[in-house]
C-alpha cells in the first residue's frame, strides 16, 4: 500500500491577515506557517494504512523554500519520503496549475492511494484534489470522514448536505480528507530526530515540463480587506432578560426584516 499525501504549507489559522501596501498580495511578515490542518487527516490516514498493510508514505508539496518545515513535520510524524517542488509564489490559489505540477511530480511514483485535504486553509479553494484526480485519471472520493481499504478497493463515507454518502471505489484512487476521519498524531522527539535523516527530493518546476507563471489559470486583479462593519445594536439584558428578548424580536421583525 503506497500512499502519496499532498500537503500545503499555509498560514496558521489564527494569523492576522494584512495586505501589502500596494494591495497586490498578503503581507507575509510575522506569519507562522503550518501544515494545512486538513492535510493532517490525509497524512494520518496514510500512516495508519501503511502501518497496517506495509508500503510507504511519500509527502509532496509545491511551495517555496519556506515550505520545507511542513515537509519535515510530516516526516517527523512518520512519512517515509518527501518531494519538494520548489516554487509556487506566482501560482498561489491557481488550483489548476498546482494540480498540474503535483500530477507531474506524482506520475512515475508508485501510488495505490493519493490523499489530499478537503481544502487548503487560506486559498480556501477545495479544488486541487479533484483536479489532480482528473489529471492522473483516478476516481476520487471527496470530503471523506470514514475509510476502509480492502484488497484493490476501498469503501468511504463522505459528508454531503443533509446526510452521508457511502461510496465504493477501486484502487488506485484519490481521497480528500475531512475532520472526523481520524485523530492526527503529533511528532515525537524521536520522530523529529529521525526526520532529519529522511530524504527530501527537491525538484524545480521546469524539470516537470511546466513554465511557472507563463501559463496561468487564475489571477487576482486585486486583494481587499473586508469592509469594516458598523457597530451593532447591543441590548443590556442582565436585569430584564424578557424585556431584552421582546425588544430584540421586535427589532428583527421591524428593522432588520429578518423574521
Amino acid at each position: 500500500m503506497n500512499c502519496i499525501v499532498c500537503v500545503a504549507s499555509v498560514p496558521d489559522t489564527a494569523s492576522v491577515i494584512k495586505l501589502k501596501a500596494d494591495g497586490t498580495g498578503i503581507d507575509e511578515s510575522g506569519i507562522k506557517w503550518i501544515v494545512s490542518p486538513y492535510d493532517e487527516y490525509a497524512l494520518e490516514a496514510a500512516l495508519q494504512l501503511t502501518e497496517a498493510k506495509g508500503g510507504e508514505v511519500t509527502v509532496v508539496t509545491y511551495g517555496p523554500a519556506g515550505a520545507e518545515p511542513a515537509l519535515r513535520d510530516c516526516l517527523a510524524r512518520g512519512a517515509h519520503k518527501a518531494v519538494h517542488v520548489l516554487g509556487g509564489e506566482k501560482t498561489l490559489g491557481d488550483s489548476f496549475t498546482i494540480a498540474r505540477v503535483l500530477a507531474a511530480a506524482i506520475k512515475g511514483r508508485a501510488h495505490d492511494l493519493v490523499l489530499c485535504g478537503v481544502k487548503g486553509v487560506g486559498t480556501d479553494c477545495s479544488q486541487v484534489g479533484q483536479m489532480l484526480a482528473e489529471l492522473l485519471g483516478l476516481p476520487h472520493v471527496a470530503i471523506v470522514t470514514a475509510l476502509e481499504v480492502g484488497e484493490g478497493s476501498l469503501a468511504a463515507t463522505r459528508e454531503v448536505e443533509g446526510g452521508k454518502e457511502k461510496v465504493e471505489c477501486p484502487l488506485p484512487a484519490l481521497l480528500t480528507c475531512q475532520k472526523g476521519l481520524n485523530e492526527p498524531r503529533y511528532a515525537a522527539l524521536k520522530g523529529i530526530m529521525a526526520a532529519k535523516k529522511k530524504p527530501v527530493d527537491k525538484l524545480e518546476v521546469s524539470s516537470l515540463g511546466i513554465q511557472e507563471g507563463a501559463d496561468l489559470f487564475y489571477a487576482v486583479a486585486r486583494f481587499e480587506l473586508p469592509p469594516a462593519k458598523s457597530a451593532g445594536t447591543i441590548i443590556q439584558g442582565e436585569n430584564d432578560p424578557a424585556g431584552a428578548a421582546a425588544q430584540l424580536v421586535k427589532l428583527l421583525r421591524e428593522e432588520a426584516k429578518a423574521i
Binding site: 489559522t13 489564527a14 491577515i17 495586505l19 490542518p37 490559489g93 491557481d94 489548476f96 496549475t97 480556501d124 479553494c125 477545495s126 479544488q127 479533484q130 483536479m131 489532480l132 489529471l135 476516481p139 476520487h140 471527496a142 470530503i143 459528508e159 454531503v160 448536505e161 443533509g162 452521508k164 454518502e165 457511502k166 461510496v167 465504493e168 477501486p170 484512487a173 475532520k179 496561468l216 489559470f217 487564475y218 489571477a219 487576482v220 486583479a221 486583494f223 481587499e224 480587506l225 473586508p226 451593532g232 445594536t233 447591543i234 441590548i235 439584558g237 442582565e238 432578560p241 424578557a242 431584552a244 428578548a245 430584540l248 424580536v249 421586535k250 427589532l251 428583527l252 432588520a256 429578518a258
Partner: protein, 320 residues
C-alpha cells in the same frame, strides 16, 4: 464561445434552490452575451427540466440515465463536459453546494482550464467575469479572473445570489450517448435523522456554543431554531466535546454558511468560528460576556444569560 452553461442540481427530482440562484445570476448577466443553457443530470428527472425556463434558461440539456441517479463525480463530469461541448459556453456556473464544489474542479480539469470557487460577487467586463471570493476564511477578499482562459468555471456560494423568476420558457434536449465509466460508485445516501435541515441549506441558523453548558441544552437551541424555522448549528468546542454531530459545526473546519439570519448563543466568536458565518446577512449574538468578540460583528445582540433570554424570545416569536 458564448453564453453561460449552468449545472443544475436536483435531489429526488426537485431542483435545489442554490441552482436556481445560479441560473438567475447567469440571466442577470444577460448570459454573458449569449444564451443561458442549463444541464440537469440524474435519473427520472425529465419533468423538472421545462420549469427552468421561468428562471432564465433558454435551453436545458437533460442527462437522464439510471447510472446517474446518485451523484458520481465521474459520471456527472462526463455529462457536463458533453453539454459544454454542445453549448460552447464562455462560462460555466455551478452552485457551490457539496456536490457543486466537488464537480466544478473536475469538470474544469477535464476541459483543461482552472476554476474559481466560492464566489460571492460577479462583475462582467465584456464577456469575461471577475469574481470576488473570500480567502483566508473571510479575512480578505480576492478579485479573481481566469487569466484569459475559457470557459470560466465558477462556483457560486449558496444563498448569496438572489433567485428570481424572469418568466420564459426553455427548449429541452436530451443528452444521450454519454460514455459513462463510473468507478467511484455511491452505494447509498444515508439521510440525516428526521429529515433535519442542514446548516448549509438553511436560511436561518441558531447555533449553540460552550455557553449552553451541556448537550441536553441543545433542546433550548432547537426550540429557538424551530420557532424561526431554522437549522441548528454549533461551535467546534461543543462538537469536539461530543455534544452534537460534526455536520452541525460552523467555521473554518466546519461549514461555511451565509444565511439571512445567524443567531449565536453562548459562542465567544473565535476567529475560526467567524470564518464560517461572518458573511451571514444579519448576525445576532446572545452572550453574557459584554466583551465577547462575537459582539464586534453582531448586528444585534443581547448581553445576558442565554437560559433567561431564549425562552422569552421563543414566546415573543410565537406571538408574532
Amino acid at each position: 464561445m458564448a453564453g453561460i452553461l449552468v449545472f443544475v442540481e436536483q435531489r429526488d427530482g426537485e431542483i435545489r434552490k442554490a441552482s436556481l440562484q445560479a441560473v438567475s445570476e447567469a440571466k442577470r448577466h444577460g448570459g454573458a452575451g449569449g444564451e443561458v443553457t442549463a444541464v440537469l443530470v440524474g435519473a427520472g428527472i425529465g419533468a423538472a427540466a421545462a420549469g427552468l425556463g421561468a428562471w432564465g434558461a433558454a435551453r436545458v440539456f437533460v442527462a437522464d440515465n439510471p447510472a446517474l441517479g446518485l451523484y458520481s463525480a465521474e459520471g456527472y463530469t462526463e455529462a457536463v463536459a458533453a453539454a459544454a461541448a454542445k453549448a460552447q459556453p464562455s462560462a460555466i456556473f455551478v452552485a457551490g453546494t457539496a456536490m457543486g464544489r466537488d464537480l466544478a474542479p473536475r469538470v474544469a480539469a477535464r476541459l483543461g482550464v482552472g476554476a474559481i470557487a466560492d464566489v460571492v460577487k460577479l462583475a462582467l467586463d465584456g464577456d469575461a467575469f471577475t469574481a470576488r471570493r473570500p480567502i483566508y476564511s473571510g479575512k480578505a477578499f480576492a478579485e479573481a479572473t481566469t487569466a484569459g482562459k475559457r470557459p470560466q468555471v465558477i462556483s457560486l456560494r449558496p444563498n448569496v445570489f438572489a433567485a428570481e423568476e424572469s418568466g420564459g420558457s426553455a427548449a429541452v434536449e436530451s443528452l444521450d450517448g454519454l460514455g459513462l465509466a463510473i468507478r467511484a460508485v455511491v452505494k447509498e445516501l444515508v439521510k440525516a435523522a428526521g429529515g433535519e435541515l442542514d446548516v448549509a441549506e438553511a436560511d436561518i441558523i441558531v447555533s449553540g456554543g460552550r455557553g449552553i453548558k451541556g448537550p441536553e441544552n441543545f433542546a433550548l437551541i432547537k426550540s429557538l431554531a424551530d420557532a424561526l424555522g431554522g437549522a441548528v448549528g454549533a461551535s467546534r468546542a461543543v462538537v469536539d466535546a461530543g455534544w452534537i454531530a460534526h455536520s452541525h459545526q460552523v467555521g473554518q473546519t466546519g461549514k461555511v454558511v451565509s444565511p439571512s439570519l445567524y443567531v449565536a448563543c453562548g459562542i465567544s466568536g473565535a476567529i475560526q468560528h467567524l470564518a464560517g458565518m461572518s458573511s451571514s446577512k444579519i448576525i445576532v449574538a446572545i452572550n453574557k460576556d459584554p466583551d465577547a468578540p462575537i459582539f464586534k460583528i453582531a448586528d444585534y445582540g443581547i448581553v445576558g444569560d442565554l437560559f433567561e433570554v431564549i425562552p422569552p424570545m421563543v414566546a415573543a416569536i410565537k406571538a408574532l
